[in-house]
């Protein structure tokens, strides 16, 4: 059985294959009713609109159906029931399970108790592989990923999307540029792991210093709750904000990505520039998730 749990489980060839498949779904090269006899459970124990909707959309586009519970219903389903039991029961209803859960490792656990494939749609501060795949897909739409310079900006300490994207990029000979406020730097063990995987990781003090060297700038959210008070938050947030005046002298094909929803990290004026690619990125969630759903249930 094929589960999609963590980007660590994938080799380069697996990622390339899934990205190629996503490209086929994107350009309409698929049997329209490919999953018309399939039913997927969207188990979301934590709020999410985008991820949940894009899985539901992907399933509908393939002619399949989804049943689901959102965080409120989910918490009443469990009423003290373990996730392991919920998964065993739901497994007997459906052909695959998409799981979002607040605990790290929840999807791994689910895959051990499920009798159908499990797709991890985010487990706490842990993994979110479908997000990473759509990030890769978006980069690859514009340029070969190999050998690019990718900047990660924002909360690199707690930001799960940044960690799993960095791990995936380490399979592509990418040079990683990290730009994070003090205290929110990438954890040392992750940087170590990236370097062990042969990745060059360069730390920068600010975005101005790095941006002209980049092919991709991936911006992540800086959360208010990581700071002792609002003043220090606003101080940091404003110095890491992306505004159009940063783009003087950047590479023509620079792409600004963001997993969305954004708070104040990117000035809306950036949306009008050719560098803004985050809405395209969000849209790519559908073909990428079509590829994943199809892959595990075909």
């Amino acid at each position: 059985m094929y589960h999609i749990i963590s980007i660590r489980d994938f080799e380069r060839s697996d990622l390339d294959y899934l990205l190629d498949r996503a490209g086929e779904f994107d350009t309409g090269k698929y049997r329209p009713q490919a999953l018309d006899d399939k039913l997927v459970a969207l188990l979301f124990f934590e709020p999410s609109t985008r991820t949940r909707m894009s899985f539901a959309t992907a399933m509908a586009r393939l002619g399949g159906r989804s049943i689901g519970v959102d965080s409120v219903e989910a918490s009443s389903i469990v009423k003290g029931e373990t996730l392991a039991d919920t998964i065993r029961v739901v497994s007997s209803y459906v052909d695959a399970i998409v799981l979002r859960h607040p605990k790290e490792g929840a999807a791994r656990l689910a895959s051990e108790f499920a009798s159908v494939p499990v797709i991890n749609a985010g487990d706490g501060a842990g993994q979110h592989p479908s997000q990473t795949l759509l990030d890769l897909y978006t980069i690859r739409q514009s340029m070969p990923i190999d050998g690019t310079d990718v900047g990660l900006l924002g909360d690199l300490r707690y930001g799960r999307t940044a960690h799993s994207l960095a791990l995936a990029l380490s399979l592509y000979g990418v040079t990683l540029h990290t730009i994070a406020p003090g205290g929110l730097e990438m954890p040392a063990n992750i940087t170590l792991e990236l370097r062990e995987r042969g990745m060059e990781v360069i730390e920068h003090a600010n975005v101005e210093e790095a941006i002209r060297e980049l092919d991709v700038l991936y911006v992540t959210r800086i959360q208010r709750e990581r700071f002792p008070d609002s003043a220090s938050y606003y101080n940091v947030a404003s110095s890491y904000r992306i505004t159009p005046d940063l783009f003087a002298g950047v590479r023509d094909h620079l792409m600004i990505l963001h997993p969305l929803p954004r708070a104040g990290e990117i000035d809306p004026a950036v949306d009008q520039t050719p560098y803004a690619r985050y809405f395209e990125q969000a849209r790519n969630g559908v073909p990428v998730r079509m590829a994943l759903l199809h892959e595990v249930m075909k």
Partner: protein, 155 residues
């Protein structure tokens, strides 16, 4: 085991049946007892020597427990704290078996994951599972890496 200590002080009686854990990393004897669930109220004859001189290790700890042979999981835990420990099984006052300890590749239910958000720290029916790497213990559920102070995380 000498019945009469040359300095005329300490006397430890030999055990008839039981286990001698020798060559424990100096200072780890009390952690070894904790792993074995041995508390002050244990009835068995128990002797502990800490920081004794050893030709091989400079200083070492030794633990001797009567009427107790160790389970594999206990040996795995001891290996984490004292990789050079030697386990001697004593039957009828004689050492009948002597074995080293070995850290297994996967530790199941031995170490508690320090990540409070890890699924293994909930009421789920799952044991903590760590892969043993040269740089530390890697949680196979949440990817946490335990590098220091492993003794304090042993369940």
């Amino acid at each position: 085991m000498t019945r009469k200590d040359p300095s005329g002080g300490l006397i430890i009686s030999p055990i008839r049946n039981g286990t001698v854990i020798d060559h424990i990393t100096a200072g780890e004897a009390l952690n070894v007892l904790r792993i074995l669930g041995i508390t002050g109220s244990t009835r068995e004859c128990l002797s502990i020597a800490t920081n004794v001189r050893s030709k091989r290790m400079g200083r070492k700890d030794v633990v001797k427990i009567e009427n107790r042979e160790l389970r594999t999981e206990e040996v795995d835990r001891i290996a984490l704290l004292a990789p050079q420990a030697k386990i001697n099984i004593i039957r009828d006052y004689r050492v009948v078996e002597k074995k080293g300890v070995e850290i297994p590749e996967i530790l199941k239910g031995v170490v508690r994951c320090p990540n409070p958000g890890c699924i293994t720290n909930t009421n789920e029916p799952v044991e903590s599972t760590f892969e043993v790497l040269p740089k530390g213990l890697h949680c196979l559920y949440c990817d946490w890496l335990v590098k220091d102070d492993i003794a304090n995380h042993i369940i």
